[in-house]
Symmetry: C2
Subunit: 339 residues, 2 copies
């Protein structure tokens, strides 16, 4: 036999693939559909916690996606102080495996893919849970990791205004400038969260707080809005998901078992429970549970992110790279055989 | 900044490093020492279980080794039917990360390294738990993955005889032939487990049973022997670790939390408990708990394997590869920076 080969895709290789919003959203939505119909194996993500040693931790996500018969593991660091070293706070490595044999097939820098799949889950959520006639998007947080949220939502909705705010004036100005070229709707920078949120149809919170606080007050949120608070630390009132007409998650078991995430404290304290969850997004995508049913519903969609989206998008990237001859082929084992 | 680089080591690269028994054992023992003194972060290994889909599963091991300040994740498949595809049942990929920033630094084929670190843990265990004057080694199981057990034990003890047995005559004959060149002691193939075990000073069970059975009967084991049953499925009497004078493990929390491993059923059934454990091997290596104290003790050492050994050995391999210019340097991200 010819030995085993691996495809390696660097950050630049992934960027060279020029994956469009539409195809990224389609791949990720197919993954969510599989999740909703039970065609996945998805142990909860877990963590290697080095907060005491280095103010950082690794998230380790693993899963299996039956429709494409691929297994994958993503390791992603989360280091708050990395900007001091001129490094992204999150660097990710995704490895993909033949599910039939366990043979590794690809190693992919998943740093940008993580942003893309996160934006795609935001977008798929909005497609099913926002009002179709949504015109105002409020985006809280201006980290580059959030660019895909805005770009993909802009591709799905006829937005009249994108409002952007963040803690530092400099960062929101830069974010707005960067995004202006990538979206159709005009972007307006606001100085306060209240100004961004009041009257918005879709509110996305992508902040990175160092401790829980109420950045977005319940009474600022319009009736009929969709709120997507996916920052790792709680930024809404803890009652928001309970008061909402519908509270949608990506994977309750994973969310409930993790020490990290927007509502992890609320779950640990017993305030937020399984009974508050209307559906997992995959069930809605698959048509097993209703999405938005009226213009008056306030809906909260909390996604933590899971391996299924990484695998679905990673396979799209690898297939495209093979078609185009992008990436580095490595001989993993020239003579692998049972001994 | 110059961008981020990764070192990739294939199976052939690892083989080209020619790591000696002594240095492998030294690296792994240093890892065990760190474990014993609490200088590690080691969440229990977990699993992506595809037994229903493909009669296979992945073990996912992650850890942090403080003395060398490196984090690592190993993904290793375990597919019983892989020999039908002319593939090893276990293929492994180890990724190593800067613990300070989460930046990936190396990707290593850890298939052979897994065998080496397993053999090294067996050897370190025997150094502390076998009689110094042990002369007869019985090795049950003839898979190639077990070669390091025999080679490393042969390097540490003045053996008069190595007895090898296995289920299939053909496999034990081949194993004995392959090993003959690698060891100092004469090798004798035996047709029965009883013949191998009776009178042996060190008994290693590296079988791969498809269901639990008593392959090694308690009354065949000599007083003063060390038994190392590390096969994934129970091959001894379930009472053996309880009747032994000392029962030593590598990491009790991991062992107790896993659905796989020699004594996992005994633990799940409540037969085998924390109270039966004399020590973790790292505590003995670090001098915090006694190893063997008399020639008459029957000692059982059960190791499941943990990420600390993989990281310790992986770093040795990577350092050696860098010294010798072995491996492939990959640009992971030419322009990684916070955005």
């Amino acid at each position: 036999m010819p030995g085993l080969e691996l495809l390696f895709l660097s950050a630049e290789d992934v960027a060279a693939l020029d994956l469009s919003a539409a195809e990224v959203i389609e791949a990720v939505e197919a993954g969510l559909h599989a999740h909703g119909t039970g065609q996945v194996v998805l142990p909860p993500k877990d963590h290697l916690d080095l907060e005491q040693q280095h103010r950082g931790h690794f998230n380790i996500l693993k899963g299996y996606l039956a429709p494409i018969d691929v297994a994958g593991v993503k390791v992603i660091g989360d280091y708050l102080d990395n900007h001091l070293h001129d490094l992204p706070s999150e660097l990710a490595l995704l490895t993909l495996y033949e599910a039939r044999t366990g043979v590794p097939r690809a190693i992919v820098d998943a740093t940008e893919l993580t942003w893309m799949r996160t934006g795609a889950v935001t977008a798929v959520g909005a497609r099913h849970l926002a009002r179709r006639d949504s015109t105002v998007l409020a985006h809280i947080g201006a980290r580059g990791t959030a660019r895909c949220n805005v770009a993909y939502l802009d591709s799905l909705f006829e937005l009249a205004e994108i409002r952007v705010t963040s803690r530092r004036a400099e960062s929101r100005q830069r974010f707005a400038q960067e995004m202006a070229e990538a979206v159709r709707a005009p972007i307006r920078v606001t100085d306060s969260v209240e100004e961004a949120v009041r009257g918005a149809d879709i509110v996305v919170d992508a902040t990175r707080l160092s401790r829980e606080q109420v950045l977005i007050r319940n009474d600022w949120i319009s009736p009929g809005a969709l709120v997507i608070p996916y920052g790792a630390v709680r930024s809404t009132d803890p009652t928001l998901p309970i008061l909402a007409h519908k509270f949608v998650v990506d994977d309750w078991r994973q969310a409930a078992g993790s020490p990290f995430g927007q509502y992890s404290t609320a779950i640990a304290d017993g305030i937020l429970r399984r009974g508050h969850v209307h559906a997992e997004i995959g069930e809605i995508v698959a048509g097993l549970r209703p999405g938005r049913e009226s213009d008056h519903e306030l809906i909260v969609f909390w996604h933590r992110g899971f391996a299924i989206s990484d695998i679905a998008l990673g396979v799209l990237a690898v297939d495209r790279a093979r078609e185009r001859g992008v990436g580095t082929t490595l001989v993993y084992s020239a003579q692998a055989r049972e001994r």
